[in-house]
């Protein structure tokens, strides 16, 4: 069976949804950030697949930039998280009563 563009899109959609579900059901802030990384990664597949489909490499450049942005977001997010952990001794978002009204 030939692998079409649709296969890649469905795969990316499934992984994106997994990340989204994880983001909603997990309460550990670190894991929530990891779920976001999974979502970004699945978006990269969409870009690469369409890039191959249209035959222009613009999507590849976007994916590369995405790597850098994901790294920057992770760095900032984890820095804030460590800071919170230092004070609260927890990274469980349910314990942040001020957060979830």
């Amino acid at each position: 069976m030939e692998i079409t563009l649709s296969h890649y899109l469905l795969l990316a959609g499934a992984v994106f949804t997994t990340g989204m579900v994880g983001f909603v059901i997990r309460r550990n802030a670190i894991v929530m950030l990891m779920c976001v990384e999974l979502m970004l990664s699945s978006t990269n597949i969409v870009f690469a697949a369409f890039s191959r489909f249209h035959g222009n490499a613009d999507g590849h450049v976007f994916v590369l930039m995405n790597f850098a942005v994901a790294a920057a977001e992770a760095a900032i997010g984890l820095a804030i998280l460590v800071e919170i952990f230092r004070r609260r001794r927890t990274v469980n978002v349910d314990d942040f009563k001020t957060l979830m009204e």
Binding site: S6, S41, M100
Partner: protein, 171 residues
């Protein structure tokens, strides 16, 4: 061969993501995510994107996930959750959007022209480092500069956030 590799990498990638979500331990989750990212590199290779495949392994599975694992190890506290329950029920409806988007997009296309197959012929150097670099340092030069600023902000920001009552390294 392409078909086998796609199903192999794709299913393992999805499985890796799924295992990351359902594992209670943050460390195990992170390792599953690394596994998933390695399979993503395989998908990139299938999509004639060798450069991206290498970067995926080096940057994503390598650098970023090491950062995550490092933080988890550093906190070495409550990395285990008791049970998995929705942390925010208000967000649940959002989950339906991505699959709906893909399905609707596909249905629209299939009705139009049938399943879209990938074009057979593609430039020989498509997706190589040289090809991507041509774009990155040519048309997208300005974006390349902007990302350097973004990374600089991340460095300074992480330092500024991390400073405690004691002072910054340079202060």
């Amino acid at each position: 061969m392409e078909g086998f590799l796609f199903w192999f990498c794709g299913i393992l990638m999805f499985l890796g993501g799924l295992m990351m979500v359902v594992q209670r331990s943050a460390v195990v989750s992170a390792v599953w995510l690394v596994f998933s990212f390695l399979c993503t590199a395989g998908i990139f290779a299938l999509l004639s994107a060798p450069f991206l495949a290498v970067m995926q392994v080096l940057v994503y599975a390598g650098a970023i996930m090491v950062l995550f694992l490092y933080v988890i190890m550093m906190l070495h506290g409550p990395v285990l959750e008791d049970e998995l329950i929705p942390s925010n029920k208000a967000l649940w409806p959002l989950i339906a959007i991505p699959p709906a988007a893909v399905v609707i997009l596909l249905v629209g296309w299939v009705k139009g022209e049938g399943l879209r197959t990938m074009p057979d012929s593609i430039a020989a150097d498509f997706g190589t480092a040289e090809h991507v670099a041509q774009l990155l340092l040519g048309r997208y030069l300005l974006a390349f500069e902007l990302i350097s600023i973004v990374l600089l902000v991340a460095i300074i920001g992480a330092l500024a956030i991390g400073q405690r009552e004691r002072k910054l390294p340079w202060k």
